[in-house]
């Protein structure tokens, strides 16, 4: 009996210790915005991690040289007061004076030069480093508040990188502690500073009282507390019971269910992610999809409006060309288009010699199974017998890269890297192993468009590519995803036009 008594005593001693480890309740009465995300963030600085939610933190802890206005999408000067392209590969930045980092370090050209030098050092192994920063040739301090940046070759999408990926670091702090310090103890010039984090479960950020007046408004809410709640139903329950002020990872269906609930505001916005039906055009032997008429028949057989609006969201964009209309250079007036027409589809199948139909395997990520089942249904009407295989995303990607896909539902793009059409057309039309089309000209057009600084020329090249894709029915563009912003009505937060939220814009409604 003695043993169990001491066990009980020890157990009772541990309980309060663990309970005391986390924070307390919070709400408007103590000026704290409570936000839920579904996944943990391992590193606060998005340069070190591929977690989408890291952008949520980075955006408000750091400033970039150029800021994307969330209401209009317009690029505005932030840490730079101006930027000028002196030629196709050179940008000159004039920097803002009199700004301090959250640790008191003054901001000047040395910080900008240091940050770019870190980004250029490929030994640092940052996320997507080669892709985003591999084209930087050099960075040079002209004077204390002027910096010149040169690129190796013209890169028309480089400003997108500046807007989303280049958070300016304080040089002394970073040099002294190593760049990994930003993963856990970030210091920027931004409107909020990280106060505390319980890795994997909660993050507390406080307002930067010395934030400068610039393109971003002054932060209004005192404290932002972000909690990881993996189960969406639990997030919804917290919203309904007043335990949360904001949830950003709800699906359109979940959000729609909350529309009309007293006290809750639901907003939707277009995300840059899109889905299309990929077909193996390139395989030569025993491949009905090699035949353009068959692919056109497939395109005609699918009732996209019905499928997308009932299964995804009434707000989701139904795509006629292979890009998301929220992307730059996504042209939506391309001909021909394929509207739902089963009779025409059957005719095309017959003239292609497939009146009896054929068997095909459709691969899809497990969470879009309903879309796969809808496609299965539509295609069965023209005799195409679809064997639907759903799997986790990594398994699908492995097989897709290996060239094992006959038909796949492909979801592509996230956040800022897909703000330009080049991201979507990139790896699926570049002649690589993920290019199931292998068109003779498209890869060259795309490459030319990616090295031209002339907007009109870029547009005409993308027009050629998108037209060829539609003429040949190389893919069936399906839908653009919808971003949801669910808040309590105490919170003022306008859904951004671009798909990366800036929480510093939130304020109390009353």
């Amino acid at each position: 009996m003695k043993i169990s008594n001491s066990l009980i005593r020890r157990y009772c001693a541990i309980v309060p210790l663990v309970l005391a480890a986390s924070g307390a309740f919070a709400d408007q009465s103590n000026d704290t915005l409570r936000v839920a995300v579904a996944r943990e963030t391992d590193f606060i600085d998005s340069i070190h991690t591929s977690s989408l939610d890291a952008d949520l933190f980075s955006t408000i802890i750091y400033d970039t040289l150029i800021y994307a206005d969330r209401a209009t999408g317009e690029y505005k000067p932030l840490l730079a007061t101006s930027w000028t392209w002196t030629d196709d590969t050179t940008i000159e930045f004039k920097l803002r004076e009199g700004i301090k980092f959250q640790n008191g370090e003054p901001f000047n050209a040395d910080d900008v030069v240091y940050t770019f030098q870190q980004l250029m050092n490929m030994d640092n192994n940052f996320r997507q480093q080669k892709q985003d920063f591999g084209n930087i040739a050099g960075v040079e301090k002209i004077d204390d508040y002027t910096v010149k940046l040169t690129l190796k070759t013209p890169e028309p999408t480089f400003e997108n990188v500046l807007v989303a990926r280049v958070n300016i670091w304080p040089d002394e702090y970073t040099e002294a502690n190593g760049h990994m310090i930003h993963a856990t103890k970030p210091v920027g010039t931004g409107p909020y500073a990280l106060q505390d984090m319980q890795k994997g479960s909660s993050y507390t950020l406080v307002k930067n009282p010395d934030y400068f007046d610039g393109a971003r408004p002054q932060p209004s809410i005192g404290t932002i507390e972000v909690r990881v709640i993996p189960e969406i139903q639990t997030q919804i329950a917290e919203l309904m019971s007043g335990g949360l002020d904001m949830a950003l990872s709800l699906s359109p269906n979940d959000a729609a269910g909350l529309d009309g609930v007293p006290g809750i505001t639901v907003q939707t916005g277009q995300s840059t992610r899109m889905y299309f039906l990929s077909m193996n055009v390139a395989a030569k032997e025993n491949n009905p999809l090699n035949n353009a008429d068959v692919r056109k028949a497939v395109s005609y057989a699918i009732n996209k409006e019905e499928m997308v609006h009932s299964l995804i969201s009434p707000d989701a964009a139904v795509l006629a060309t292979n890009c998301n209309p929220s992307q730059n250079f996504c042209l939506t007036d391309i001909e021909p288009t394929y509207s739902f027409d089963v009779a025409k589809a059957k005719e095309l199948m017959a003239s292609a010699g497939f009146a009896e139909g054929f068997d095909v395997t459709l691969m899809a990520e497990a969470n879009i199974r309903p879309i796969g089942e809808a496609l299965q249904g539509y295609l069965s009407a023209i005799g195409v017998r679809v064997n639907l295989e759903t799997m986790p995303l990594p398994a699908w990607r492995e097989r897709y890269i290996k060239g094992e896909s006959q038909m796949s539902i492909v979801g592509w793009g996230s956040g800022v890297s897909s703000i330009d059409i080049s991201n979507t057309l990139g790896i699926f039309f570049n002649g690589s192993s993920t290019d199931y089309v292998q068109d003779k000209e498209i890869p060259d057009w795309n490459a030319a468009a990616l090295s031209s600084m002339d907007k009109a020329e870029r547009e005409s090249l993308y027009r050629k590519t998108l037209t060829r894709i539609n003429e040949e029915a190389y893919v069936v563009p399906l839908y653009g995803t919808v971003a949801t912003y669910v808040t309590s009505e105490q919170v003022n937060y306008q859904a951004p036009v671009i798909d990366f939220p800036d929480l510093s814009l939130a304020s109390w409604a009353k």
Binding site: Y11, I14, V15, L17, V18, L19, A21, S22, G23, A24, F25, R39, E40, D42, T49, S50, S51, R127, Q128, Q131, Q198, K199, G200, S201, S202, R227, V228, I229, P230, E231, Q233, T234, A237, E238, M240, S241, G242, G243, P392, L393, P394, A395, R397, E398, I401, W412, S414, S417, N423, I427, S432, S433, T434
Partner: protein, 307 residues
């Protein structure tokens, strides 16, 4: 006794080894880890490069051998994503999970022992039927459903209890109850059947005829004999609770090892999943072993059988 324990330990180690091998193989066959790690926009070349630097292109057995060598020294490697020692991540969370599991077990025992005994004293009475009914429904209800129903009722409708997180003791009420309800049916049925068996024995009748009060007969004479299987089962239940809080911790967003396991499975963080698998099976095996030893110590008959 020593020989008895030694043979049990050897069997336990073999089981643990088998679990580690099978788990390792299954995890590595479940998908391309390098593709997950490289991030969505990575090219095929980047993925291949990563696979090579992480040693994932080596033969499976070679990978397992180096994992085993490290694990034997207590080094379970780094999380692929958090780039933090798996052991550190585990130690930061085990306290929370232990509180959940031990509290749930205490609650389950506190409910099932008296109810099981009462049911045994009055078999086929309305009380017995009620106890069986509760046991049956407790077993039939999936944990996540019960958890969501409780959240909806006590959290949203009545607003009596906080819904998610582990900030205050109140946050533990719903998760502990959900876990306990899962453990109650087996404990209760075992108490009932064990007591019924013991109560029919001659020495109970003797004790009763000596005029000892029926409560005293129950506690002093019957319980001592009926408790053996309950100890074994409690140990097994504790093992199940430690490993089985995955769903409860995810639903209530409690950052214990269950949630860690859930998230690691979701994103294919193999070193963490493998270590959690080892922890759950090890604690299961150790607790069962402990129960066997305690039983042998309480009951000399078991000890002698093995000699």
């Amino acid at each position: 006794m020593a020989a008895y324990v030694r043979s049990k330990v050897i069997v336990s180690l073999l089981v643990l080894f088998t679990v580690s091998l099978v788990g390792f193989a299954l995890l590595h066959l479940s998908g391309d880890l390098a593709a997950t790690l490289a991030g969505e926009n990575a090219s095929a070349e980047q993925i291949a490069e990563l696979r090579h630097t992480m040693g994932l292109d080596r033969p499976l057995l070679a990978q397992y051998a180096s994992w085993l060598a490290d694990a034997a020294r207590g080094d379970f490697g780094l999380s692929f994503f958090a780039r933090e020692s798996v052991l550190t991540m585990f130690l930061a969370r085990i306290g929370t999970t232990a509180i959940l599991a031990v509290s749930a077990l205490i609650l389950a025992i506190a409910v099932s022992l008296p109810l099981g005994m009462l049911a045994a004293v009055r078999p086929n009475s309305w009380l017995d039927w009620m106890v069986s009914g509760v046991a049956l429904s407790g077993q039939a209800l999936p944990g996540f459903f019960l958890a969501l129903m409780m959240i909806s009722f006590f959290g949203v409708t009545l607003r009596w209890l906080p819904i998610s997180g582990s900030a205050t003791p109140l946050h533990y009420v719903m998760p502990v109850v959900v876990l306990a309800i899962g453990a109650i049916p087996a404990l209760m049925r075992l108490t009932r059947s064990g007591m019924m068996e013991v109560l029919e024995q001659d020495y109970i009748r003797t004790a009763r005829s000596k005029g000892i009060s029926s409560l005293r007969v129950m506690w002093k004479h019957a319980m001592r004999n009926a408790i053996l299987p309950i100890i074994s089962l409690s140990a097994v239940q504790l093992g199940t609770l430690l490993g089985g809080s995955v769903i409860v911790e995810s639903v209530f967003a409690i950052d214990g090892i269950g949630l860690l396991t859930y998230r690691s499975i979701q994103r294919g963080d193999f070193p963490v999943v493998q270590a959690m698998l080892m922890f759950v099976s090890a604690s299961y095996i150790i607790l069962t072993l402990l129960a066997d030893v305690i039983n042998a110590w309480l009951d000399p008959r078991l000890r002698q059988k093995s000699q």
